[in-house]
Amino acid sequence: MSVPILEVRDLVKRYAAITAVNGLSFRVPPGMCFGLLGPNGAGKTTTMEIMEGILAPSSGTVSYRGEPLGERFREEAGILFQATALQHFLTVRQSLALFRGLYTRGRDIDELLHLCSLEALAERDNRKLSGGQRQRLLLAIALVNDPAVLFLDEPTTGLDPQARRNFWELVGAVKEQGKTIILTTHYMDEAEILCDEIAIVDHGRIVAEGEPRRLLREHFAAVLLELPRAAFPPAARTLPLQFLETQERVEITTDDLDATLRTLIGAGVPLASLRMRPPNLEDLFLELTGHELRA
């Protein structure tokens, strides 16, 4: 691994009786999009906020380019929080100008407006933007200092599918510029599209870390079969199969498709609504955390 732009070592954050982050360690090389995935309350946002330098850890360290977080980091980091309020009565352009004024170097505001498709909205009051437009403005604000590392904390939560895809395209364009991106998300498709590496966090610990494809190869030898839960009779639960039940469906993991199908037919399981697909990150997430994904 090349010299990391960010390195997290033995990070712990405790709140009274709760340990939100419990000994997290990972390294992020420059130019990578690194995803922190996990169910609600797993410690993703706490980890992000410690990495962003706005929350002090109980113990452990975060270093940027080999040094503790300091003035240089603040100048070179761009941040998009889960929920960010802006100063009232400012237009999109004025909001950008405000944040541009806080950094010693940065990008031209017109260039940012163009990059984030905000030219037509430049003179609009920032309170009168749609959800997608607002996220684009917040991304533009996060890019205002031409950051070397960009933190995106659940950036597309609450956006409609079209706005999400539009946002992914923007993040993709930023990634092509060689920026390092740290992303937390609930959306596995988002992580699959954007992330080069992921760390799955649960109960404040990393339960898996690596390239998404490699993790899938390691955890899933073969294919996934999906059946509606109603089509999976109680008697079938005793079959010698590796399966996971969710509220709507039963997912069977197998590396011997023929044998599994024979077992199911033999048990009288109706296969009319059987679906077969390769495993994805969501399957990995459920496999590792046992949690339903909650937006």
Binding site: I54, E71, E75, A83, A85, L86, Q87, L102, N145
Partner: protein, 334 residues
């Protein structure tokens, strides 16, 4: 409908009762005001009129007027000081014990008119002397107080609430993620509010001053300096209150707890001459009192920098102390 109403009513009550700070201040604030007013205005029946006596009330002991009930006789050290109190209408008359007894009265004052009648009934030989110099109307005396109070409310609530709103909305948290320091943020708030309040006060001073035909006896540049230092002290106080808190009701309670004593004790509405010494000490510690002393000295009597320097130094110290506390205790997030 009733069920929905009850659900919202119940939730709001829980919210209010569980916000302990707000609950405390909802009780503490009115209680403090009532106790404060009780201390200031309570006790046995109070004199209705105040009369100043050169040389002290003992020098008047043989005059029948000295035994008039509900008139308080205050010792006055010098004629100049006494005449100023008469012009201000802080005392109804100034007496120079005779014989014959001489007195000065503000001919525009209703209290002066009544007390002169009482004096003449008790002592027909009393000699009336004119109050020399410009007579100061009550509105002249009140004008600096109104301007100063407007500054106080604008600075305390304007700054305190804005910082609170920024913190509640998460805007401060976002700023915290930039190279901006707490000192820079607070300084920007101070300078912004200072500029706004000086502009507003200048407009009010010009417009209202013209409307009431106010004659300013002092130097306008000096007045601007007083206004700037007074505003800075109030802004610093507002920032200190809002430095850490996240509850709107608690901040509101605290700001009211600060503003009420200043409204009552600073001398904006009425003079505290004759109030207990301990109360005047408390009043003198309030920034609004210092601001008003300086403003009135310049606006009404044309005082120079030397005369008001102690007030200005006090305001500067208050500003530095509260800005220091505010910056040290500042919290970016809830």
């Amino acid at each position: 409908m009733i069920r929905r109403l009850c659900a919202v009513w119940h939730a709001r009550n829980l919210e209010f009762l569980r916000d302990r700070g707000s609950l405390l201040f909802t009780l503490v604030l009115p209680l403090s005001i009532i106790i404060g007013i009780g201390i200031i205005f309570g006790g046995p029946p109070r004199p209705l009129f105040t009369v100043g006596v050169l040389g002290g009330p003992a020098a008047l002991a043989h005059n029948r007027f000295a035994h008039t009930r509900y008139v308080r006789f205050l010792p006055i050290s010098s004629r100049q000081a006494g005449l100023r109190e008469v012009r201000h209408d802080h005392i109804a008359l100034l007496l120079a014990p005779g014989p014959p007894l001489h007195f000065w009265v503000n001919t525009r004052s209703p209290k002066g008119y009544i007390v002169e009648k009482l004096l003449r009934a008790a002592d027909r030989s009393a000699v009336r002397l004119p109050v020399s110099g410009r007579q100061i109307r009550y509105i002249d005396w009140l004008f600096p107080g109104i301007l100063a109070m407007n500054m106080m409310f604008s600075c305390l609530f304007g700054v305190g609430y804005v910082v609170l709103r920024y913190r509640q909305s998460g805007f401060l948290k976002r700023l915290h993620a930039t190279p901006l320091t707490a000192f820079e943020f607070l300084s920007a708030q101070v300078l912004s509010r200072l500029g706004i309040i000086l502009l507003i006060t200048t407009v009010l001073y010009t417009v209202v001053g013209a409307m009431i035909h106010f004659h300013d006896a002092g130097n306008l540049a000096l007045l601007l300096l007083i206004a700037a230092l007074g505003a800075l002290a109030m802004i610093a106080l507002g920032l200190t209150v809002a430095a850490r808190l996240a509850s709107e009701e608690l901040v509101n309670g605290l700001l009211n707890l600060l503003t009420w004593p200043m409204v009552m004790l600073s001398g904006a509405w009425f003079s505290l001459a004759g109030a207990p010494r301990w109360l005047r000490w408390i009043a003198d510690a309030l920034p609004l009192t210092q601001l008003l002393h300086a403003a009135r000295a310049v606006m009404l009597y044309g005082a120079g920098l030397g005369a008001i320097a102690p007030n200005l130094i006090y305001l500067a110290v208050v500003t530095l102390v509260f800005l220091g506390i505010g910056a040290a205790s500042f919290k970016w997030r809830i």
